[in-house]
């Protein structure tokens, strides 16, 4: 067991993949000598050289588009998009090409490209540096979307993403980059399957589902609720697409109440999908409607007011109260 931050865990995971798979390579803006703006790729260019760790031209469509070509030639590229709000120039390549090539070729071609995106707010940054665009990608068939919330998952999930034959978008909770945790580098454990949700806290009165940056918030809310005698279960979704409804459903059948929390705007978001599915699958087990806690229908607000925008412990507890009031 080693203790490390999430950023370091991803760095170590990338290192392990580059070592294991000579055809894996990293590409992105400033990821070489600088080690990425968050230093997630720190030191890797020294170890693996600039043929494996590419400081690319400043062009997101170019990064993803050439990664697709490399994948078609048998390579496993891992792209870094510098910030969430800058993935849109690559949106075309991701949604019309990357997601569809396997289907279009009737399974003859695979494009195992990983796209790493630091996402989410809470770091007091400026415009386009705090967004949560996961639903835009989740709506596109052919992509897999995962987001770790702790160091052990980060270390293993990135490696599993690189091994996966499907394209994977790997959303990194940037405000948790410095969150430390235990990493078992010998044993993946539950992280061996990055597409399954984990029950990270058991409870009987209600379930909170979260992923990425909001998992610690959901856990804190559950702890606060327990002081009021409420037993709250918390699920770390980990995978946004595919979405592990079985784990959520099993929990709801136990607790009867569900709250979904994410930073992305509530409207048209993943929370709505979970609510609808659970409504279909476990209607008779629900004691209350599924309640969503998320961002407002507005561009991500300026940093000085982001606290009012972001789901926090109080917003989750308020939702819990509403749920329990039914």
């Amino acid at each position: 067991m080693a203790t490390m931050t999430i950023a370091k865990a991803i760095n170590e995971g990338l290192r392990a993949s580059l070592t294991k798979n000579p055809k894996s390579l990293l590409m992105g803006e400033d990821i070489g000598h600088l080690g990425g703006v968050y230093r997630v790729t720190d030191g890797l260019i020294k170890e693996f050289g600039d043929e494996r760790v590419l400081d690319t031209p400043l062009a997101e469509s170019g990064i993803v588009g050439t990664a697709i070509g490399l994948a078609l030639r048998g390579y496993s590229p891992v792209c870094e998009i510098q910030f969430d709000g800058f993935v849109y120039p690559a949106f075309n390549q991701i949604t019309t090409q990357l997601a569809k090539i396997h289907a279009r070729s009737l399974g003859k071609l695979t494009v195992p490209v990983v796209i790493r995106i630091p996402y989410g707010g809470g770091i007091g940054s400026i415009e386009h540096h705090s967004e949560s665009p996961e639903a835009l990608f989740a709506h596109t068939a052919g992509l897999r979307i995962i987001s770790p919330s702790n160091a052990h998952d980060a270390y293993w999930m990135i490696q599993k993403a690189i091994e996966c034959q499907d394209p994977v978008i790997f959303f990194e909770p940037k405000r948790r980059y410095w969150l430390k945790g235990e990493v078992d580098v010998e044993n993946a454990g539950l992280s061996a399957d990055p597409f399954k949700a984990h029950v990270v806290r058991e409870g009987t009165d209600a379930t909170i589902v979260a992923y990425g940056p909001l998992v610690p918030v959901a856990l804190a809310a559950a702890n606060a609720a327990s002081e009021d005698g409420r037993s709250v279960e918390v699920i770390d979704l980990r995978s946004i697409s595919p979405l592990d409804f079985d784990t959520v459903e099993a929990s709801v059948k136990k607790t009867g109440r569900l709250i979904v929390a994410h930073e992305a705007p509530t409207f048209g978001g993943i929370g709505g999908e979970i609510a609808a599915r659970i409504g279909e699958r476990a209607f008779l087990h629900l004691e209350a409607p599924v309640i969503r806690v998320g961002g407002f229908h507005m561009p991500y607000p300026v940093a000085k007011v982001e606290e009012d925008y972001l789901p926090d412990i109080d917003k989750i507890l308020e939702a819990l109260d509403r749920s329990l009031a039914y």
Binding site: P22, T56, S61, G62, G69, L70, Q93, T96, L106
Partner: protein, 397 residues
């Protein structure tokens, strides 16, 4: 010095006679060997490449151009008869495609747009397979790895980036092969796109990446003068070939209706790329004689005189004139070409009718490479739903 290397000084000449010489907006020189009159001219650099083309090869060029034109007519007819949802004709662009296609070697990988039926023919793609997409039974149709000819791409310019990435992969493969002392032949990539597509950001980004990494890729732009109804002048203020200079690699405009010049220039460019000397942009100056697609009406946006003027430069006519004048092909040859065309048309017609409609389960099977619970769930629902109809039928019977 092998044939893959240019004589000393020619690179400079090339740069001077092509992209570098022309200031923005100035007309660029155009490489032409076989004129509309069917007479063979000369070029300081590319005549040497043209000399490699023996009479047999010239007859193959002619046969392939005639075959693909005939195929084009047949596909257009099939669309008119409701057998195809859409057709994208290539008439007028045969020389650009057959000439460049024949310059490629089997190990080269080709990324087409959606009009490169002539290149597909040269790369041995079954033309009936090519029609699957237009009949609505597949989004592809052939296995791209069998002939190193990629699937068509309908999102303009997207494939130019894939081409560069693929070329970057070739570079890495070559290093690995060198380390293993392998004798793998060197390969390059060709990316086809149109003059309209040249305005897309992806073309620009692909050229930036290609130049940055010195990738073995040849950008082959067929300037057929129209992007649906919009003329090239709206896409660019400078000759497209001149743009290459801005990225730092050679750009050559070639007469796209001259199969000999296209072949020579493309062969040079591919050798340049394979030898590790970086990308090349070729602008094949040609014309889309017919409609953009069968859904288009060119009379709404262009003069018929323009079309007529380009018909005078027809790529097949000029090669026919040359072959006849030089006594390289006799009447029997041309009769045989016609007969082959009829055969091909018959084949395409009959196989099109026979193209199988896939089961939607095939689509479920290929969304992801690995097992996916949502696919499994939706497929299970679909099976149950479909089974309901079957049992209804049973009760009805």
């Amino acid at each position: 010095m092998g044939s893959t290397q240019l004589p000393p000084g020619t690179e400079e000449t090339l740069a001077a006679t092509t992209a570098a010489a022309a200031a923005p907006g100035e007309p660029v020189e155009m490489v032409q060997l076989l004129g509309p009159d069917g007479k063979l001219g000369s070029d300081p650099i590319f005549s040497d490449y043209a000399k490699r083309i023996d009479p047999e090869k010239l007859r193959v060029f002619y046969t392939d151009m005639a075959r693909i034109r005939r195929f084009d007519q047949e596909a257009t007819a099939l669309q008119r008869q409701g057998e195809l949802a859409l057709w994208v004709p290539l008439t007028g662009q045969e020389a650009a495609q057959i000439g460049s296609g024949h310059a490629s070697q089997p190990q080269d990988y080709i990324f087409p747009t959606y009009r490169e039926h002539g290149v597909a023919l040269v790369r041995n793609v079954d033309l009936a397979e090519l029609l699957k997409q237009f009949r609505g039974v597949s989004n592809g149709g052939w296995d791209p790895r069998e002939n190193n000819f990629h699937l068509y791409t309908l999102v303009l310019a997207a494939q130019t980036l894939h081409a560069v990435g693929y070329a970057m992969g070739i570079q890495r493969d070559q290093k690995l092969a060198a380390a293993e002392d392998s004798t793998d032949s060197k390969a390059a990539v060709i990316a086809y796109f149109g003059d309209g597509a040249s305005s897309e950001g992806d073309v620009h980004e692909s050229m930036v990446f290609a130049a940055s990494y010195n990738a073995p890729v040849v950008f082959f732009c067929q300037n057929n003068h129209w992007a649906i109804s919009v003329p090239t002048e709206v896409q660019t203020k400078v000759p497209l070939a001149n743009r290459a200079k801005g990225y730092g690699f050679p750009g050559i405009r070639v007469d796209g209706n001259d199969v000999i010049a296209v072949h020579a220039v493309t062969e040079w460019a591919l050798e340049h790329a394979r030898e590790g000397r970086g990308p090349v942009l070729i602008e094949a100056y040609t014309y889309r004689v017919g409609a953009h697609t069968t859904a288009d009406d060119p009379t709404k946006y262009r003069e018929s005189a323009e079309e007529a003027a380009w018909r005078e430069k027809d790529p097949l006519d000029r090669l026919e004139k040359y072959l006849r004048a030089e006594g390289l092909a006799d009447e029997a040859f041309f009769d045989q070409v016609d007969a082959d065309g009829d055969e091909l048309a018959k084949y395409v017609r009959s196989t099109t009718h026979g193209l199988e409609v896939p089961d939607i389960r095939e689509a479920f099977a290929n969304v992801y490479a690995e097992q996916h619970p949502l696919i499994a769930e939706e497929l299970a629902w679909f099976e149950e739903y479909s089974a309901g109809f079957e049992s209804d039928e049973e009760t009805a019977n």
